[in-house]
Subunit: 389 residues, 2 copies
């Protein structure tokens, strides 16, 4: 186990009807906030009305900024930064899924600097301060509700880049599983694939003696593996959504990678796909991960076999751990298929004509590798994309 620091200060407010508490919680931090959301669905669902009623009751004013799209864009972030500065707003409240939250985090960092927030995404400097961010989560998927991360896409060049900073842990996140009842099935499936990916990225590590976090990760993977098909079958089952939503937050809150080094190559590769083709992040991960696994399996067959046995209930073939591992990958693919997700680039309607370009962008023209479990150069990324065709 590696040395580590761990602190996650996000206050989780979990359960039925908890969005009614957003006003009182927000008022602890600011009396004038940016209310940031995506499409109009929170208005038609009534959530917008309940959130603003709670803000009003607590004496909190707000400025609306809707229009966040999946793979949230820099231009809207910059609009949000302008609104915060012009109106002296003191907190960014995201109501939505990972896209709204990631966009809110970017705005929160941009609102307190003179320069361009995109610089942080390019690795030029680190944020030194940020407005507080808070969330009302509607989609269990990205884990951004209690994470340090934000991923933004710059339209020009379709560059998708991430920032991680403890400054953007949300100060509170409201998780009401009921808000997920009305999600379209495709979004449920993509959310489950995203959560599973967060767990697998952390699981596949070269750090030895990480049995405790292995087991916590397996526990969380088993929960998502069981709950995702149940949520599709019975979308109004509170108990299923409660397990799904809480597991989704824990999957990405950094507890589960304490003392270990995650991989994250599959995320990097997927960002190139969804940056260009604007496919849903979870759908892209369902394509990349099995291909990544087939490419990296030999790096640690025992670890893949343990995963297959403990998460997917594969019988351990002690004379053939590799067959055990490969059966695990097959069950992961079958799980994706059961959720209605494809596992090939063809399923995403992504052709083969830009694979070279994606492999090059992913590795900055072979100037860097991606991944830690196996360090992948441009040609290795190209091979994985090939395996994913």
């Amino acid at each position: 186990m590696d040395n580590f620091d761990f602190k996650n200060p996000t206050k989780i407010i979990f359960g039925k009807g908890t969005e009614a508490r957003v006003g009182e919680e927000t008022a602890r931090y600011a009396k004038k906030v940016l209310l940031h959301f995506g499409s109009g669905s929170i208005k038609t669902s009534g959530l917008y009305g309940r959130v603003t009623a709670s803000l009003k009751a607590a004496g909190v004013e707000w400025v609306d900024l809707g229009g966040v799209k999946p793979n949230p864009r820099l231009s809207l972030v910059q609009e949000g930064v302008r609104l915060c500065k012009q109106n002296g707003l003191g907190l960014v409240l995201a109501v939505g899924g990972g896209s709204a939250i990631d966009s809110a985090k970017a705005i929160a960092m941009g609102a307190v600097i003179d320069g361009d927030v995109w610089d942080f995404y390019l690795g030029k400097g680190e944020p030194k301060a940020a407005l507080p961010v808070a969330t009302v989560l509607t989609i269990p998927a990205a884990g951004s509700e209690s994470s340090t991360g934000t991923v933004i896409t710059k339209e020009e060049g379709l560059l998708k880049r991430a920032v991680n900073s403890e400054l953007i842990y949300p100060v509170f996140s409201i998780l009401n599983p009921e808000l997920a009842f009305t999600l379209p099935p495709f979004q449920v499936a993509c959310g489950a694939a995203d959560i599973m990916a967060h767990l697998m990225e952390r699981y596949f590590t070269n750090v030895k003696n990480v049995e405790f976090t292995d087991r916590l990760l397996e526990a969380t993977m088993k929960t998502i593996a069981r709950m995702a098909p149940r949520a599709l079958e019975n979308p109004r089952d509170y108990d299923t959504w409660a397990e799904f939503m809480w597991a989704g937050a824990i999957a990405h809150n950094n507890l589960l990678n304490t003392g270990r080094v995650g991989d994250w190559a599959s995320h990097d590769i997927e960002h190139e796909i969804s940056g260009i083709y604007d496919v849903a992040h979870g759908a892209g991960l369902a394509v990349v991960f099995p291909a990544w696994m087939k490419h990296t399996l030999k790096n640690d067959v025992a670890r893949f076999a343990q995963w297959a046995v403990r998460v997917w209930n594969v019988d351990m073939d002690v004379w053939n751990p590799e067959a055990t591992a490969r059966e695990g990958i097959r069950r992961l693919e079958a799980w994706y298929h059961g959720l209605g997700l494809g596992t090939t680039l063809a399923d995403l309607k992504v052709g083969s004509d830009r694979l070279d370009e994606m492999a090059a962008k992913c590795t900055d023209g072979n100037k860097r590798t991606v991944g830690n479990f196996v360090k992948l150069d441009q040609s290795a990324v190209r091979k994985i994309l090939e395996l994913a065709r």
Copy 2:
């Protein structure tokens, strides 16, 4: 799953040599602190010297208060409160195990009030403020390093009582597994029993649909079940201690009881034993828990069977879940025995003459029940003590 709020702000600094960071971390909060510890073992081991060197280097002054004993006493707490007030100390730094930390938390609450801190332990009022508490952990056991709890014994009447408050989450806790290398085997065993008890108290709940936290608890129980005998066999194995120590902190940091209601009767009953007889808390728990299980098994045989199968690798007897459950209890007892702990009051040299008195004190003369999984009145507690003879 029940609605819940969860926030754990303790910064964990984990790994080899991390006590060298105590000065810089302390200096963020105060320049003059109470250094609180137990016996002189931290002086002979060199830890005291390393901690004070780090404080000195960071420009932090300290006042020493050693002498904390297992089942920490109110009189020393009151001495600490006096020292903090007289010297204007701004933080209480515990170097030690759960006793030093619990005592430090009591001092931190007492230092900011005019009245008697014991009132909080009697349930008269709640703390409104506290000095920051920080810890350098030497014994993985109590979980106090990232918990809201403190248990103190008042010498007069040997009353042992607890307070829980978010105000006494340590601001940081330094966990260096190397510090556990020199623990006496009996203390290792008691620590393991205490951690296992924290997990079992949370596991046995009547709240339904808590599969995710069930699995996290099982993951943590399996880790402790495996690591404790290994730590006794090979006390200088860093990797074993790292898993043990991190699992011990997570076991009690409130994440694992999110959305569920723990039981805690075994802790209450054990507090009466160790309050009177001054036995080690972990050793007392190893006696109480099997008896409690035999008494409460019928309340939810399925839950006991799940625990037996998933934690203790018992084969599920689908035609006889109760036999499966009972085999789990036998394996728990065997695990205690393997650690060198007894499982009867006779093993603790506790006679039968004061069982009535303990049952009465535990339930305030039958004016209250203890436990949530099964609510136990005075006669039920008496029965459990009888089963434990």
